[in-house]
Symmetry: C2
Subunit: 239 residues, 2 copies
DNA sequence: CGAAGCATTGAAGTGCGTCAACAATCGTGG
DNA sequence: CCACGATTGTTGACGCACTTCAATGCTTCG
C-alpha cells in the first residue's frame, strides 16, 4: 500500500532501489481508522508523522465560536503532517473524513533518512513546500474568488492530484465528503455550498451523487476556476 | 545587517560561531531596491534566494482580472523565498512595498550549507514550515473571520514578528503600506479596508498615520483578532 | 422503525462590493 | 518655492453575494 506514496515520489524524481527501500523502511506500522476521528490534536507534542495510504484526511483549524476552516485535504500518497517532523507540534488538527488506511512514521526514522540521504531530504523538503504552495492557492481562492469559482477550483485540484497517484477515474473520483465538509474547505456556509453545488450541476459541469464526483466538462470547470497546475509543481526535477 | 537574520535564528535555537560564520557566508551580495519593484516574477527559473534585511516585501498572487492576493508579508530577517531553493521557481511574485535592503543568497551556497550542517538544514526546513503555518492562519482569517477581525489579526501578527527581530517599538511600528496593499493582504476592497481601519480607530485600538501603526490597546486588539501566537512557533528547539 | 444526520428550499438580513465624487497628500518640474 | 498632476484616503448611495433562520424531506444506520 505504500506504493501509492512511491508513485507520488516517482512523479517528481527518479529513485534508486536503495532509496526505495529506505522510504519503505520509514513505516513502522499501518493502521485502519474509522471516519471522523481526530488523529492528531493541534498543540500536542508529536514524535510520529502520518502518511495517508487510502481515504480522505483534512487539516482543520477551529475558532472559539465553532467555525472551522479546512486548510488542506489529503489524498492517498500524501505525507499528511511531514511538517510535524520539524515543528514538533501542529497548529491544526488532523482528522479523517472517511475510513482511512494510514502509515505511522516515527520521526527518528525520518531523521535517519535525511541524514543519510540528502537528496531524499531535499525531496521531502520540496514536498512540504508544495504543500505550502497549495495553501497559498487556497488563500488566493478564499480572498479573491467567488463561491462557484472556489468550488470549481477545489474539484480541479483534487482531480489533478488524484491522477498523479492513479486514484482518479477518467471522468471523476470517489468523493465522500458531506456538504458541511465541502463548505468548511471553501469558507462558505452549508446552505451556500449547497446552492453553489447546484449551480455547478445546472451548468452541466459536474455531478455529485452517491459519494462520487463526476466531472462532465473539465475544460468548462477549469475555465470557471481559472485553474492552472503551475502551483502544484508537477514537473520532474533532480533534487 | 545580516544580524537581523541571525537574531531570528537565535530566537529559535542556539548556534555555534562556526554555524554563524556559515550563515554569514550565505550572502553573496547585498543590494538596495526601491519600492514597488517585482524582484522575482512567478514562474521564472531561479538559482538565488532573497533575504530581507530592511523594508517590506510581499508575496503576491495575481488573477487574470487584475485582482491580487498578498499571501505573505515579510519583515526584516525573513528568508523571503527560501522555498525557491527546493521549488526552483515561485508560484507568486516577490515585490517590494517600500525601499528595501536585501541580500542575495545563491542556491549552491544553501546546498553546501545543508549538506555540511544538517542541523541548520533542519532549522531552515523548519523556517519554511513556519511560513506555511502563517499561510494556514491567513486561510483561516480569509475563510472565517470578519474584516475587522482579519485586520486586527494582521496587525497583531506583524507586531509579534517584528518584536522577535527587535524592529518594533513598544507601542507599534513603522508601516508604510497603502490602504490598497492592506486590502490586498486581507481579501478586501480598498473602500472596505478604509472603513475597517476607521472602525479600529473609532474603537481606540490603533492609530495609523504618517506610515506608522500605533497600537493603543493591544489586549483589545488581540481579543477582537482572536490572536494566539501558537502558529508562529516562537519557542526554542534543539533541531 | 425511529432517530439523527444530511440535503434542499424559501425568505429575509447584512457585510462587503461597486460606483462615483471629492479631499488630502505626495512627488516632480518649472 | 509654488504649481500641478497623480496617487492615496475618505465618504455616500446603492447593489449583491453570501449568511441566517427555519422548515421539510431524504438517507443512513443502529
Amino acid at each position: 500500500m505504500i506504493s501509492v506514496h512511491l508513485k507520488k515520489v516517482r512523479q517528481r524524481t527518479t529513485i534508486s532501489s536503495e532509496e526505495e527501500q529506505v522510504i519503505r523502511g520509514l513505516i513502522a506500522e499501518t493502521r485502519r481508522v474509522p471516519a471522523d476521528k481526530v488523529l492528531i490534536r493541534h498543540g500536542t507534542k508529536i514524535d510520529t508523522s502520518i502518511m495517508l495510504l487510502d481515504g480522505w484526511l483534512a487539516r482543520c483549524k477551529d475558532l472559539p465560536d465553532g467555525d472551522r476552516q479546512v486548510t488542506q485535504l489529503h489524498v492517498p500518497g500524501d505525507f499528511a503532517d511531514l511538517h510535524g517532523f520539524t515543528l514538533k507540534r501542529l497548529d491544526h488538527d488532523l482528522a479523517t473524513l472517511s475510513e482511512c488506511q494510514i502509515a505511522l512514521v516515527p520521526h527518528d526514522r525520518i531523521l535517519a533518512l535525511v541524514e543519510r540521504f540528502p537528496r531524499l531530504a531535499r525531496y521531502y523538503w520540496f514536498a512540504t513546500n508544495v504543500d505550502a504552495a497549495i495553501t497559498r492557492e487556497l488563500a488566493l481562492s478564499l480572498g479573491q474568488r467567488s463561491a462557484i469559482s472556489r468550488m470549481a477550483h477545489l474539484f480541479c485540484e483534487l482531480m489533478t492530484r488524484l491522477e498523479v497517484v492513479d486514484r482518479a477515474d477518467p471522468d471523476g473520483f470517489g468523493f465522500p465528503l458531506t456538504q458541511r465538509e465541502i463548505a468548511e474547505c471553501l469558507g462558505l456556509t452549508v446552505v451556500h455550498a449547497n446552492r453553489t453545488l447546484q449551480a455547478l450541476r445546472r451548468r452541466k459541469l459536474i455531478e455529485l451523487e452517491n459519494r462520487r464526483l463526476t466531472i462532465l466538462d473539465r475544460d468548462g470547470l477549469e475555465e470557471i476556476a481559472e485553474f492552472d497546475t503551475d502551483y502544484l509543481y508537477l514537473e520532474r526535477t533532480s533534487f
